[in-house]
């Protein structure tokens, strides 16, 4: 029970951080971290799929309201939530799901996590920026923005995860 409350609180805090701080970061003039993906990455995998979709949609729309791009992040997040379970299944490979399958450090190793975070972020950022630009003009710059955003976002998210979920009992 307590766990659920803290999860919801964490979710809200991450969204607010995104809206009030990360949206104002503009590294090298184009890279803005999408920290709020952290909230989606940490969602428990065993939640009903429809709830996951709704949460994705709501958080995407919330961010959209502040960036005046209604629908863009919402669409990307819904697709993100749709792809996530399949992606996790593919990453886990043959190993059938353990009792506590949470995508956090300590349960998954670094290689698993970095693939999980980077690929899904790339997908999300490609969608968001692709929809916003919606043309192949300046394709190089668009690609650069996508890659830069992905690297920055993945870095920030992984750092945050390792800070707040310290790996215990490592010999």
């Amino acid at each position: 029970m307590n766990n659920t409350v803290s999860q919801i609180l964490r979710f809200i805090i991450v969204l607010l951080l995104q809206v009030f701080i990360c949206n104002y970061i503009n590294l090298f003039g184009f890279a803005t971290p999408a920290l709020y993906l952290l909230a989606l990455f940490l969602l428990p995998l065993e939640l009903p799929l429809s709830v996951q979709y709704l949460i994705g949609f709501a958080s995407g729309l919330f961010v959209d309201m502040f960036t005046h791009t209604l629908g863009v992040n919402a669409l990307a997040c819904v697709l993100f939530m749709f792809v996530r379970p399949y992606f996790v299944k593919a990453l886990n490979g043959r190993k059938t799901s353990e009792t506590t399958d949470r995508p956090i450090p300590g349960i998954k190793d670094f290689k698993w996590l970095i693939t999980y975070v980077t690929i899904l972020t790339l997908l999300h950022q490609a969608l968001v920026i692709g929809i916003e630009v919606a043309s192949f003009k300046n394709f190089g710059h668009t690609l650069l923005t996508i890659v830069a955003n992905t690297i920055l976002t993945a870095f920030v998210i992984l750092c945050t995860e390792y800070i707040f979920f310290p790996v215990k009992g490592k010999s």
Binding site: F20, Y24, P48, L49, S50, Y53, L54, F57, G60, L61, D64, M65, F66, H68, T69, L70, G71, V72, A74, L75, V78, L79, F82, I131, A134
Partner: protein, 282 residues
């Protein structure tokens, strides 16, 4: 029928997914096509005020830089003011060699620069101010110091990187001034205690001075140019020394909130001082 409901329940998330995707695509399409999209307006009204307050808070972090830019702009404007120049009404020479500069018949007498206050006292008997510029930056003794609101004081000592200022709030400070409408010359002195109040001396008793008259620099000392505001008359009384009035003035400068100061240099001060030195009575 039961089967249909069962099917619907089982695949509910697919329907939801489809609905959410369609909704967001519609939103994207609408917000791109119409500027009068109602939902966008509703969102704007909800988020706008929060974002505005937040932007103002963030803006505070860049105020320092912005202030510096404004200070520089101010100096550029103040350098072109009329009291920075003296008229050289040399009509004959002017006619022979016409120039088309901005002030063809005047020469620059004063020049401006600026500095930041790094230490100051306002409530002592002998107050002083230290600024972050020194001889390396072209500051020299006896330069005039002002701020956007009014006169501050005079530079007294200069080291390589810093300078000290004797403000009006110092018993040794004497600034030649005029009371504005009647143009009577007097001296502004400070007599302790209140960093907002100073006295104007040497105004004869027969003159009529009303409350609120402004006291400005006279320009006779060759330190301050003419016409900088020192303060306004607050109280007029007949002094003990019967021939002069005791005039209390409220200083225009708020010494407690002094941060950026402007420094004025009289470019011909040494020349004028040499002439003055010939008269031994000074």
């Amino acid at each position: 029928m039961n089967n249909l409901i069962e099917f619907f329940k089982k695949n509910f998330h697919y329907f939801l997914l489809a609905i959410l995707l369609v909704v967001s695509i519609i939103m994207i399409g609408k917000s791109m096509a119409y500027s009068k999209y109602k939902f966008a307006k509703v969102c704007q009204n909800m988020v706008g005020p929060i974002q505005k307050n937040w932007a103002e808070m963030i803006h505070r972090f860049s105020l320092g830089k912005e202030n510096d830019q404004l200070t520089q702009q101010n100096i550029a404007l103040m350098r072109e003011q009329e009291n920075m120049f003296i008229e050289k009404d040399d009509t004959l020479r002017h006619m022979m060699t016409p120039t088309d500069s901005l002030h063809p018949r005047s020469i620059r007498l004063y020049d401006y620069t600026y500095a930041h206050v790094i230490y100051k006292t306002t409530d002592q008997a002998f107050n002083y101010i230290i600024i972050d510029k020194g001889s390396k930056d072209g500051i020299s003794r006896d330069m005039a110091v002002t701020c956007p609101k009014g006169v501050v004081g005079v530079v007294s000592d200069v080291s390589e990187n810093f300078s000290s200022i004797i403000p009006i709030l110092h018993p040794d400070s004497r600034i030649s001034a005029i009371v504005s409408p009647i143009n009577q010359v007097g001296t502004v002195v400070w007599e302790g205690n209140d960093p907002q109040v100073a006295y104007l001396e040497n105004i004869p008793q027969h003159l009529e001075i009303s409350l609120g008259d402004s006291v400005i620099t006279s320009g006779f000392s060759n330190i301050f140019p003419k016409g900088l505001l020192i303060g306004t008359v607050k109280e007029v009384a007949v002094g003990k020394n019967a021939s002069f009035l005791t005039i209390k003035i409220k200083l225009a400068t708020d010494f407690r909130r002094l941060h950026t100061v402007y420094l004025l240099e009289n470019l011909y001060k040494s020349e004028i001082d040499t002439l003055k030195a010939n008269f031994k009575n000074e």
